[in-house]
């Protein structure tokens, strides 16, 4: 893990200040610790999954990488170059170049397409901004992109409301691909779709990766889709990573008690498996005042009273690229 990787995120922190009410006396009364010092790397052409429950900081991580929310601290290296400094430099040409490399597919395809633009307008807008395609080739490229995501040429003249959720998500993917990005951040791309359509989009993402060698950062709370599409997975809890491992390793031998509980609480569509469920007590604590020591300790079933409530466990390598942040797990 380091700068030699395609994408390397080092100690990323994003805090949101909370202000007291008032017009003249607006003072900061606390901070939301949305992301609190996470590091990870992604190899070129692979898919990295980020899983966790709502409010754990998955989306904030993704938004920080694209500088949609500028990170509080930490470094992000893309192909060895620190990109946070470029975003801060306000050098428009450089930033635009960077934006071509990283693209985002949003969670809700009903909200992320402008209802007043046709599909052709939506997909060709990046050509207008980045000017990487000569004008006479715009339509050729448009039809090529539509074909790539499994839409027909006649769809180009339609408006978003004429499409179903799955087709809209295809349009969003086509728009992201229009600038030929190297990294695609997919934030819950199938969460709002029906199961039969979900499979189509997941297959499409996999095909595109094989064809175009794109790297994905795949964010989801749905562990079964993560297992299907990701090469490596990180499990997040309250702004921190609790475990990172190769997909099969994580699903077959989870070490952290949170990962174990998370995996055991997924309902399996097979009435024969009667598993012993680990039902976690309580709910995710507030990220404004995260618990002292290990952030999972109030809900943990194996905690050591002295150690876990005082010292925060570090993410440690247990071999085979498997990292876990728990002081009790590898005993």
């Amino acid at each position: 893990m380091g700068k030699e990787n395609f994408l390397y995120v080092e100690n990323l922190v994003k805090h949101f200040p909370i202000y007291s009410r008032g017009i003249f006396l607006r003072k900061s009364v606390g901070t939301v610790h949305a992301v609190d010092g996470i590091s990870f790397s992604i190899d070129k052409g692979t898919t990295f999954g980020l899983v966790g429950e709502s409010g754990c900081g998955k989306t904030t991580t993704a938004r920080s990488i694209l500088n949609l929310d500028s990170p509080t601290s930490g470094n992000i290296y893309l192909e060895g170059k620190e990109i946070g400094a470029i975003f801060k430099s306000k050098n428009k040409a450089e930033i635009q170049k960077l934006r071509r490399k990283i693209q985002y597919v949003f969670q809700n395809p009903y909200a992320s397409l402008d209802p007043r633009m046709t599909v052709a307008d939506i997909i060709m807008e990046p050509f207008m901004i980045h000017k990487h395609v000569p004008k006479q080739k715009w339509y050729d490229k448009l039809y090529e992109l539509l074909g790539l995501v499994g839409l027909e040429e006649y769809h180009a003249e339609r408006y978003p409301h004429e499409f179903s959720g799955g087709q809209r998500q295809r349009i969003c993917i086509a728009r992201a691909l229009a600038v030929e990005p190297q990294l695609l951040v997919a934030d819950e791309p199938v969460a709002s779709l029906d199961v039969s359509v979900r499979a189509q989009i997941l297959n499409l993402l996999q095909q595109l990766q094989q064809k175009l060698k794109i790297t994905y950062l795949y964010i989801s709370h749905d562990l079964s889709t993560v297992r299907h599409i990701c090469h490596r997975v990180a499990v997040m809890y309250l702004g921190k990573f609790v475990e990172i491992a190769k997909t099969d390793e994580l699903f077959n031998s989870p070490l952290h008690p949170y990962t174990q509980a998370l995996l055991s609480s997924i309902p399996i569509p097979d009435p024969k498996t009667k598993r012993s469920r680990i039902i976690l007590p309580g709910e995710i604590p507030s990220p404004i005042n995260p618990p002292l020591g290990c952030r999972f300790n109030p809900r943990c079933t194996i905690k050591n009273k002295d150690l876990c409530t005082k010292t925060e466990p570090k993410l440690t390598d247990v071999g085979n690229g498997h990292w876990v942040a728990c002081s009790e797990a590898h005993k």
Partner: protein, 332 residues
């Protein structure tokens, strides 16, 4: 012979919109035995929720129940007056809505919302109602019920709100509980908590339940029998094991294979081609035929009737007995 608590016959609920008549529910047949959990499975737009709303006669305008019978404990609910229905709704039949954030009234505290239901249906004083409400909160395992009862919905988390919704639905000890996607908006660890709670409460109170969901994993865990809906029609009804290990309808099989599974990692997911049909002009004949891999020309001509192919196993497919369908989970 098991007693049937609810039997729905040929229910048709249409929505009269300016664009045309949306046949959201078009001849659905369901029955629920006493003490069992029926899973109602289908994708969005398959008519799951409209069926449940029809049972307690709160289909929103411009929707109307056009035809059919809803027989609850031997009486047809559709022939009753609104006044009689009010005696049943909330008391005999409880309802849990999909989104706990919108099904609780934000301007009333929990005590008001729970005592309202209790006082409406039971002859008790305000004080007794409040005691009952606190009892209910401890039944759904909310910590410090005496304090939490004075909270407003916005002070509670999603999981807590859904527990309140469960408590409200159970407040008059209904014989039948309709749970419309009770865990869809919740995180998996919270979902596990709520499902566990509902299972144990159902056992404790001995009710029947209709669980509406699109998640095959949830029904596998909770339901005794499953009815699969597609585009306003029933595809298949059978006990849970039969649906999973010996499905006879192509759509049931497609639903099972399209879900990425934790247990089996496949290179490529099998896909159901196309999308859910438009319900204003649904496909002729079998509604699944344009997406069905086993479709034959006859399928587009006549709507297949729901037939009992073996005891307790109903399928609406004219080729149910000829085609060989393999469950992705293997056979029993």
């Amino acid at each position: 012979m098991v007693k049937k608590i609810l039997k729905i016959e040929q229910l048709k609920t249409y929505f009269y919109t300016w664009a045309g008549i949306v046949k959201a529910v078009d001849g659905i047949e369901i029955d629920v035995n006493e003490g069992e959990t029926l899973g109602l499975v289908g994708e969005s737009g398959s008519g799951k929720s409209v069926t449940a709303l029809s049972i307690i006669s709160i289909v929103p305008s411009p929707g109307r129940i056009v035809e059919g019978k809803i027989i609850y404990k031997g009486e047809n609910l559709l022939e009753k007056t609104e006044k009689d229905i009010q005696q049943i709704r909330g008391k005999e039949i409880g309802y849990i809505f999909q989104d706990p954030a919108t099904s609780l009234n934000p301007v009333y505290n929990i005590a008001d919302q729970l005592t309202e239901v209790i006082r409406r249906h039971q002859n008790v004083t305000k004080k007794e109602a409040l005691e009952k409400a606190i009892e209910l909160l401890s039944l759904v395992e909310i910590p410090d019920p005496e304090i939490k009862i004075w909270n407003y919905p916005h002070q509670l988390s999603g999981g807590m709100k859904q527990r309140i919704a469960v408590a409200r639905a159970l407040s008059c000890q209904p014989s039948l509980l309709l749970a419309d996607e009770p865990t869809t908006n919740l995180d998996v660890t919270i979902q596990a908590q709520i499902l566990q709670l509902m299972k144990s409460l159902k056992h404790k109170l001995g009710m029947s339940m209709i669980l509406i969901t699109h998640d095959m994993g949830v029904v596998a865990d909770v339901a005794d029998r499953i009815t699969v809906l597609y585009a306003g029609r029933v595809c298949e009804t059978a006990d849970t094991r039969t649906i999973f290990f010996n499905p006879r309808h192509p759509y049931t099989k497609a639903l099972l294979t399209a879900v990425p599974s934790l247990a089996l990692r496949k290179e490529k997911l099998e896909v159901i081609p196309g999308t859910i049909p438009n319900l204003i002009e649904p496909p002729s004949g079998c509604r699944f035929h344009p997406r069905c891999e086993y479709a034959k020309p006859e399928c587009s001509k006549e709507m297949p009737p729901l037939e009992e192919i073996e005891p307790g196993h109903f399928v609406a497919c004219i080729r149910a007995l000829e085609i060989e369908i393999k469950s992705p989970l293997g056979h029993r």
